[in-house]
């Protein structure tokens, strides 16, 4: 059976991290499972974790009265979910709900932040990775805002 460190090591997000850093990160991680419909986190609550999704699909949602729950994005296997743990005031800005059975690794944000404060190399490595995720999401959001399928033929 693989140790949690080995599982983490094989993920794209943590690839290239030094062994000692993987040990530190694995010390803040645990495996979790969510059933369909279960919330991984809810808007407004304290953001104490982030997740690496291993299986299943998570919907990032926002409640917009009177429309109800609006899905903004889905996150799937290999992807990182959540960065509010990294940015003050450490509150979730959206809901995250399991659409299917979700298996994930949950990382304790407070634990990781403490380790990053005492080991800035680890902090920099993680920051580089999270910045890449944020940039990718920002780019995707910009394309979504373009409403690209709403354009096209204007004649005929």
């Amino acid at each position: 059976m693989q140790s949690l460190k080995e599982v983490i090591q094989k993920t794209e997000f943590f690839q290239g991290l030094e062994d000692r850093h993987l040990d530190l990160i694995a010390g803040c991680a645990r495996l979790v499972v969510f059933q369909p419909g279960e919330y991984l986190f809810k808007e407004g609550r304290e953001a104490q974790h982030f997740f690496l999704i291993r299986h299943g699909r998570v919907s990032i949602e926002l409640h917009i009265p009177p429309r109800g729950q609006v899905m903004i994005q889905t996150v799937g296997p290999g992807e990182i979910l959540g960065w509010s743990w990294l940015v003050p005031p450490h509150r979730w800005r959206f809901d995250a709900k399991a659409l299917t059975v979700v298996r994930a690794i949950r990382f304790d944000g407070q634990c990781i932040r403490t380790k990053c404060e005492s080991d800035h190399t680890l902090g920099y490595e993680l920051m580089k990775r999270f910045t890449a995720v944020m940039a990718e999401r920002l780019q995707a959001t910009r394309i979504q805002l373009l409403d690209i399928y709403g354009t096209g033929s204007k004649t005929g």
Binding site: V70, T100, Q144, K154, G156
Partner: protein, 288 residues
């Protein structure tokens, strides 16, 4: 570089590329609130290559280019050619109003086709946005018929919302197969949707195809194709293995009137399917 296939631009069985023949509406299938697929019966055999289009003429209203989205042979031996039409103006509105038994003018097929035979053994990645799935559908059906000739096959499709997904029944049927990979994503969704939400480029970034040996066929709004090409380049897909179907306001369909000129190319005659290197430098020129 494999050129896009270019069959003769002559009317099937007809004497002149200008002369429409009669097509009769034999089926109507509503795809979404503004997209409909018409089955048009034409006499005899109608030959075309996936990616080509026909000019459809509504009597007294006007003529528009519409991609061929499939065909079948009717019981009487005639051919039913399917055209999937998005209502954007007067002519498409008139097309969408046609009832079974009514007739229109049809001339074609025109333009270049998706190159496929030369890519046997490669992974195939079909990437569609919105109604762009229509011109890719005959290619996909061809691939399914000759499935053993290719490596992994991916169909990545993006739509605005779940209600805007075209060929939904086809997609549901195709997803039941074990030998193809189909991913659908929408830009916006609400409760009851259990699929992906996000841009189609995200599917492209994550699909497990071999970039060096993948051939990619893209059809959708130009801006979507632009972002998709960026992602394919980031993944290491050679430009020579990427093909796009372009759309412009085509009138004559034989490179005569110049309405669809795109740099030195005519979309109707040299396209609509182009290898990426041939049109890349024109894609972001605003005046074109």
């Amino acid at each position: 570089m494999a050129p896009a296939q270019r069959p003769d631009n002559t009317l099937s069985g007809g004497p002149s590329p200008w002369l429409p023949q009669k097509g009769t509406v034999v089926s109507r299938q509503r795809q979404t609130h503004d997209v409909i697929t018409l089955g048009l019966e034409v006499p005899g055999t109608f030959s075309y290559h996936p990616g080509q289009f026909n000019m459809l003429y509504v009597h007294g209203v006007g003529e528009v280019p519409i991609s061929i989205s499939g065909h079948r042979t009717a019981e009487n031996g005639h051919t039913v050619v399917f055209h999937t039409i998005k209502v954007v103006g007067n002519v498409t509105q008139a097309l969408a109003r046609l009832k079974k038994g009514e007739s229109l003018g049809i001339r074609g097929p025109y333009g270049s086709a998706w190159p496929i035979e030369t890519f046997a053994g490669n992974d195939l990645v079909l990437i569609a946005g919105g109604i762009g799935l229509a011109p890719l559908r005959p290619l996909f059906l061809h691939v399914l018929e000759h499935r053993e000739a290719f490596g992994n096959v991916f169909l990545l499709y993006g739509a605005r919302t779940p209600a805007d997904i075209v060929f939904r029944r086809d997609l549901e049927q195709w997803r039941k197969r074990f030998d193809i990979n189909i991913e659908v994503t929408v830009d916006h969704a609400w409760a009851g949707w259990y699929g992906n939400v996000g841009v189609v480029t995200k599917l492209v970034a994550r699909a497990p195809f071999d970039p060096v040996h993948a051939v990619c066929y893209i059809c959708g709004p130009e801006i979507m194709m632009w972002f998709t090409v960026q992602t394919l380049r980031e993944r290491g897909v050679p430009d020579t293995n990427v093909f796009l179907s372009m759309e412009r306001n085509m009138k004559c369909a034989i490179g005569f009137c110049g309405h669809c000129q795109y740099g030195p190319e005519f979309i109707c005659k040299d396209g609509p399917v182009f290898p990426l290197p041939k049109i890349w430098k024109y894609l972001r020129i605003r005046e074109l």
